[in-house]
């Protein structure tokens, strides 16, 4: 039964789907959360007049946001080139 089922299931493609979805889902959430943290922290530090630290936090936020956008564009490009 297990052998029959194994022969029916496209194991490699299913595993690739699981890995791709997990990496994309967790990666984009992490990067977007870092972006929110960065911008939030930047505003907070700005009000305390710590401009250098605020700038660094904003830069981290911007980088993380760019990473999210790049991941989305990459995903769509991969989809259209099957």
């Amino acid at each position: 039964m297990t052998v029959v089922l194994a022969s029916l299931v496209e194991g490699k493609e299913l595993l690739q789907t699981v890995v791709a979805a997990t990496v994309a889902g967790l990666g984009v959430t992490f990067a977007f959360s870092v972006a929110i943290w960065g911008f939030g922290r930047s505003v907070e530090l700005g009000t305390k007049d710590r401009r250098l630290a605020a700038g660094a936090a904003a830069a981290i936020g911007t980088l993380a946001l760019l990473l999210v956008l790049a991941a989305i564009v990459f995903g769509i490009v991969v989809m259209t080139h099957k």
Binding site: L14, A21, V28, T80
Partner: protein, 370 residues
């Protein structure tokens, strides 16, 4: 001449199914954005319709699976496809009537398999395609979305730490514009292709296209339009169930549920798995809720949804099989499909009138934009 009439009816019925698919699944795409306040309902739905339309043009892998890998195209006739579509539409409308987010995809595949078995016996089923490309991904996808959303919300809460709630909520609401857009794109990509696959199957069965053909451009454009219009029409009953009754979400949970759902659907579409977008997004919502607090998920509502999911394939298959039997009572010509179409239209109108008489299922609140 008779087969051409049946083909026209099949194409019309398939596009009607596509419309109900968009109508039924609007909730999957926009409910989380609406319930967290990330977008006004009409704006979210218009945005989702546009991205559903665009998404339909991205890939044809799923259409190829539906057309060639589930049932043996060589023994399929347009009448079999028609009966399968009626099975799917009937189940879609029944679950819409009761406000249950069941799977349009499984209804479609169940309907076609049921009518094909009624016509030619169980040999018509391509076990490898049905199990490997439909049933196993159907089980894996919602669990995967559940796990990814659960892990993702843990990561999100950990990263944002002690940030001020206002900043965090605003940030994730902006994020939901992106994640909701991606989800709509993913939905259009995976779901519109099922209709393309079924119309292609009917065109192959009628001899209009050769075996193993890809969907023609007019089929892609018509399917994209039908699902976009259906999405714009919106299914408010299911939006209410998906958006508020499973869990009460914050913006971060909405973002992770949508993001995880989109990631699972887009990855699956890439490999040609025609999975249920309904299962995936509801899995994501439950995962995002359960990770925060198990009791946050209203498991009773979740149980009703699971029951509808389990019933979908066999119920649509049974309706598809019975419909095929009814069409054969009128001979093998166009009379059967014409009679069934007229009867189905009468039932649909009656259901809409009855539902309209009962009033709006979603309470109109100030600033809801409805």
């Amino acid at each position: 001449m008779s087969s051409d009439i049946i083909l026209v009816i099949v194409v019309g019925t398939a596009l009607a199914f596509d419309f109900t698919n968009g109508f039924h699944d609007t909730a999957n795409v926009v409910a989380t954005s609406i319930s967290t306040g990330a977008a006004r309902p009409q704006v979210a739905i218009a945005f989702a319709s546009l991205l559903n339309f665009i998404g339909a043009f991205i890939s044809i892998s799923v259409a190829a699976t539906v057309a060639n890998d589930v049932v043996d195209a060589a023994v399929i006739t347009p009448t079999i496809v028609f009966a399968g579509l009626i099975g799917a539409i009937a189940w879609n409308l029944l679950t819409w009537y009761f406000g249950l987010p069941s799977s349009s995809s499984h209804a479609l595949i169940g309907g076609v398999v049921g009518s094909a078995v009624a016509a030619s016996g169980f040999d018509v089923i391509i076990a490898e395609g049905l199990v490997g490309k439909v049933l196993v991904p159907a089980l894996v996808a919602p669990l995967l979305a559940f796990l990814v959303a659960g892990l993702a919300i843990g990561i999100a809460y950990r990263v944002i730490g002690h940030q001020r709630p206002g900043v965090v909520t605003r940030g994730y609401r902006y994020g939901q514009v992106i994640s909701g857009g991606l989800l709509a794109l993913a939905h259009g990509t995976n779901d519109a292709q099922k209709t393309m696959g079924v119309i292609t199957l009917a065109l192959i069965a009628n001899g209009t296209l050769g075996a193993e053909s890809d969907p023609p451009t007019w089929v892609i454009v018509a399917s994209a339009l039908a699902i976009a219009l259906g999405t714009y029409s919106g299914g408010w009953r299911i939006i209410k169930t998906t958006g508020t009754r499973i869990i009460k979400m914050d913006a971060a949970q909405g973002f992770t549920a949508q993001g995880s759902g989109a990631a699972v659907i887009l990855a699956s579409t890439h490999f040609g798995f025609p999975l249920s977008t309904t299962h995936v997004i509801n899995g994501g919502i439950m995962g995002a809720g359960a990770a925060k607090r198990l009791s946050a998920v209203r498991w009773g509502v979740a149980g009703n949804i699971v029951t509808a999911w389990i019933l979908t394939l066999p119920a649509a298959a049974a309706i598809g099989a019975v419909t095929y039997g009814v069409t054969q009572l009128f001979g093998s010509g166009a009379a059967g499909p014409i009679v069934v179409t007229l009867a189905a239209l009468a039932l649909v109108v009656a259901a809409f009138v009855r539902r309209a008489q009962r009033g709006s299922p979603l309470p109109v609140t100030e600033g809801s934009g409805r």
